[in-house]
């Protein structure tokens, strides 16, 4: 078949460039399309799940549905004493929904819309799910100026320290039980008013897939799945999870108050992924560690190790990471010897492995689990001197 030059160009345009462009176009924009399709509510409405992201809901003020307060919640002091405080403890009342959803409310004997809040789909059943719904990803993230709160509770003046009056704030932040000799001291607000020991929670280490890595000497090595580490109460610190830690100052006058929901809750454009995990590199560090003699070695103030924590203005940029020098720098670090020894052994093993590929390489297990401890030693760890 004799194909002319012009026809060949046309064929090329149709058969080569068009599919290419389509493919590239799809590759680039497919995620956006899939997201917008999901969020624009193309699916038929079932009225089984409530979303704040629906345009009609977004046009309403928070107070048009949520009454604050509408009940009492329980909280505990650091000493373990219980108390009750006014809170938003329940779903909005029917009147908040019925103006727009009358049709769904009165649809048959078992209206599906009831299933959003009620445990039984029946006009006569009053039982409701817990509020807010446990284990459901929130559609909101929290706006919190961390530095403002640090500044306002951390300021103190050193003028009177030598008169034995002042106890610097943040000092001995009570990771652990208060020592008897400290009970008489003035109890200043500090990090623990929000970050208490994570009592009553259980932690599990998330599974990791074994991967390959390249070690310092260029040797390829397998990084194993890590071992499970038992995490005791107090190992981690809690994040504030309820209104109490905010309402104690912001309930009525100090803005944002209990009715300025948007002062703290920022609606995500898309539903947020559940964040029930903590990214911790040095998993073996225990805030609440107790020595054989009954002392608590990790009793320095929080900012002595979390050196970046006071620099951030928002939660998004907050960096609680503890640089290695906080644990192992000459003069201030307590663990220089152990960490240096471990790194030296590892380097020795790597040299041996070059000669004998079957030889084992020490993993860094003083601070890390086997997974993290099997990777290349980062540059930040190398200047550690004994």
């Amino acid at each position: 078949m004799n194909i002319g030059r012009e026809k060949l160009a046309k064929l090329a345009a149709v058969w080569v460039f068009a599919p290419c462009l389509s493919l590239i176009f799809l590759q680039l924009f497919l995620p956006i399309f899939s997201v917008s399709a999901a969020s624009s509510g193309d699916k038929p409405k079932t009225y089984k799940i409530f979303s704040h992201n629906v345009a009609e809901h977004q046009r309403q003020s928070c107070a048009s549905c949520h009454q604050s307060p509408n009940g009492l919640s329980s909280a505990k002091t650091l000493d373990g004493a219980s108390y009750r405080f006014p809170d938003i403890t329940d779903y909005p009342v029917h009147a908040s929904c019925v103006d727009c959803h009358r049709q769904q409310f009165f649809k048959g004997a078992r209206p599906q819309i009831c299933a959003i809040c009620h445990t039984q789909v029946s006009p006569r059943a009053a039982g409701r799910f817990a509020f807010p719904v446990p284990n459901q990803a929130s559609e909101f993230s929290i706006k919190f100026p961390h530095n403002v709160h640090q500044d306002i509770i951390a300021e103190n003046r050193t003028l009177q320290r030598n008169q034995g009056i002042a106890v610097a704030h943040y000092v001995r932040v009570k990771f652990n039980a208060v020592a008897p000799d400290e009970k008489a001291k003035t109890d200043y607000n500090n990090c623990t008013i929000c970050h208490a020991p994570a009592a009553g929670k259980t932690f599990v280490t998330a599974p990791r897939q074994p991967v390959e890595t390249v070690l310092e000497t260029g040797i390829a090595a397998a990084v194993p799945q890590h071992e499970s580490i038992a995490v005791a109460v107090g190992h981690f610190k809690n994040l504030p999870s309820g209104h109490e830690s905010c309402f104690n100052c912001h309930f009525s006058q100090q803005r944002p108050t209990q009715i300025d929901c948007a002062g703290c809750h920022v609606q995500n454009r898309l539903a947020a992924a559940p964040q029930n995990f903590i990214e911790r590199t040095s998993l073996k560090f225990n805030h609440d560690q107790k020595t054989e003699t009954g002392t608590f070695p990790h009793d320095r103030e929080c900012t002595a190790c979390h050196v970046r924590i006071t620099q951030s203005a928002s939660l998004r940029s907050l960096d609680p990471d503890v640089p290695i020098f906080a644990c192992a720098s000459k003069g201030t670090g307590c663990h220089s010897d152990e960490i240096r020894l471990e790194i030296d052994r590892r380097i020795e093993d790597l040299v041996k492995k070059q000669a004998n590929p079957q030889s084992a390489v020490q993993t860094c297990s003083y601070c890390h689990n086997t997974y993290v401890g099997s990777f290349r030693v980062p540059e930040s760890h190398k200047p550690i001197k004994p």
């Binding site: 300021e155 103190n156 704030h169 100052c249």
Partner: protein, 300 residues
């Protein structure tokens, strides 16, 4: 023909991916090196060294010369003490009791947020707390919650008024510092990925703090880059306000030796401006606490 089209298409996509990866590599290699600074802030009064704990310091990109306008503004800022704030409130007709002022002083606090009022007796001892406690009791019904949430019923000017006033002055200085740092950053040609050049940090109880991850793009014939460490707003200690503007050379190759910010006058690269607090700010002397408040019975 379709097979040929797909082969060409795959080749094109692979080529575009390769170009993209190599562009990322180039961007990564163009990233500036990073350094860090450790510093200690202290003042020496009558031969005695006092650490400046819980004080906020700022790191601004550029030398003293590059930040001349900012330094001029810092030097012109008058120190403003807690006593000045409450003396002004009284002059303007607000009721601030001696008991309230002395509670703050005796507890070493700058605001009532610094610690909880633990007992009703402690609340009743200070007129402002007593009024807030009674209002809280009416609202929240239980003494425990009325004490825990006592600050929600304190007047705004007593809750965080001093902090807010400082913040309004500080905001202007921070904006100026940020703009100054950005101008220095923009002047660094050929380094597209350098950061903002402005950081802040608070000192710990020993007066120590770190600035970490500082972008370093040294000028030609130099291995270090110059930054300015300053507290922007005068730190009031005793009857004097102190403002530091100190040049620091940040070297990404080796850790910076710790810097000590002292109240030494006459240093060319590290200036400290000291100003006495106005005499009009003086408030009555407070008696030391008669007894430790937390030792009181908590039978509310």
């Amino acid at each position: 023909m379709r097979v040929l089209a797909f082969i060409i298409c795959a080749a094109l996509i692979s080529a575009s991916a390769l170009v993209s990866i190599s562009a990322q590599d180039t961007a990564a290699s163009a990233q500036p090196k990073r350094g860090s600074i450790k510093f200690t802030a202290q003042v020496e009064i009558n031969g005695k060294t006092e650490k400046l704990d819980r004080k906020r310091f700022y790191l601004v990109r550029g030398s003293r010369q590059q930040n001349a306008q900012l330094i001029k503004k810092i030097a012109a800022t008058e120190p403003f003490s807690q006593d000045c704030y409450y003396a002004n409130l009284r002059r303007n007709g607000s009721q601030v009791s001696d008991e309230f002022v002395c509670w703050l002083k005796n507890n070493d606090c700058e605001s009532p947020y610094c610690r909880e009022i633990k007992t009703s007796a402690e609340a009743e001892a200070v007129p402002e707390f007593a009024a807030a406690y009674r209002q809280s009791l009416r609202e929240y019904k239980t003494p425990v919650l009325a004490l825990k949430w006592l600050t929600t019923n304190l007047p705004a000017n007593l809750r965080a008024g001093f902090y807010d006033q400082q913040k309004s002055v500080l905001r202007e200085l921070v904006n100026l510092g940020r703009v100054s740092a950005q101008e220095t950053t923009r002047a660094k040609k050929g380094t597209a990925s350098v950061g903002e050049g402005f950081q802040s940090i608070m000192t710990d109880r020993l007066g120590n703090a770190y600035f970490l991850d500082i972008d370093v793009v040294p000028p030609e014939n130099k291995k270090t880059e110059t930054y300015l460490v300053t507290n922007l707003l005068p730190i009031v200690f005793g009857d004097t306000g102190y403002s530091w503007t100190c040049e620091v050379e940040v070297d990404p190759a080796k850790p910076q030796a710790p810097i000590v910010l002292k109240n030494e006058i006459g240093k060319k690269k590290c200036e400290v401006v000291t100003k006495k607090i106005s005499a009009a700010c003086s408030l009555p002397e407070c008696q030391a606490k008669a007894s430790k408040t937390t030792a009181a019975k908590t039978n509310d």
